[in-house]
Symmetry: C2
Subunit: 89 residues, 2 copies
């Protein structure tokens, strides 16, 4: 006979109760500069290149600390409503 | 006899498997302006009051969009490493 799928052989949690962390991965930043104790960035307004610059607050941008629009995907996938901080010079 | 605690009477999940969302509450912003589709804020650099202003990226500040230091508590509680965006004029 065909082997059972792996999930069918996973052990049942004892007592049927499972502890679930309130936030996956211990927080809201899954990947950015995890070697740093605290990720802080500084904008020098005198050095802004463009009239308007968007800074990421979703911790999922590929160009962090800049926003690359990935918050849209995050919001759609999770039902969240986060967006960037816009800095206007 | 004393009544059983409510948890003891909770139904056991069928099959012993439980679906767990990757992110609690659907995202990283639990409470801020949830009536808005997307929370975007704008800094007008010409109107900055102080030489240095810290903006929240942890979505837990009581003075959002400003940082009030609550990221420290969040990092300690979850093992995360998030911090503010500093804007210098
Ligand atoms: S990509 Fe993170 S706020 Fe836009
Ligand atoms: S309170 Fe959110 S980054 Fe400081």
């Amino acid at each position: 006979p065909a082997p059972s799928p792996p999930a069918a052989r996973a052990p049942r949690p004892r007592g049927g109760l499972v502890a679930v962390r309130a936030e996956a991965g211990g927080g809201i930043n899954p990947t950015i500069r995890k070697e740093e104790d605290k990720v802080v960035d500084t904008v020098l307004t005198g050095e802004l290149a463009k009239p308007l610059t968007a800074y990421c607050r979703c911790w999922r941008s590929g160009t962090f600390p800049l926003c690359d629009g990935t918050h849209v995907k995050h919001n759609k996938a999770t039902g969240d409503n986060v967006g960037p901080l816009l800095v206007k010079k």
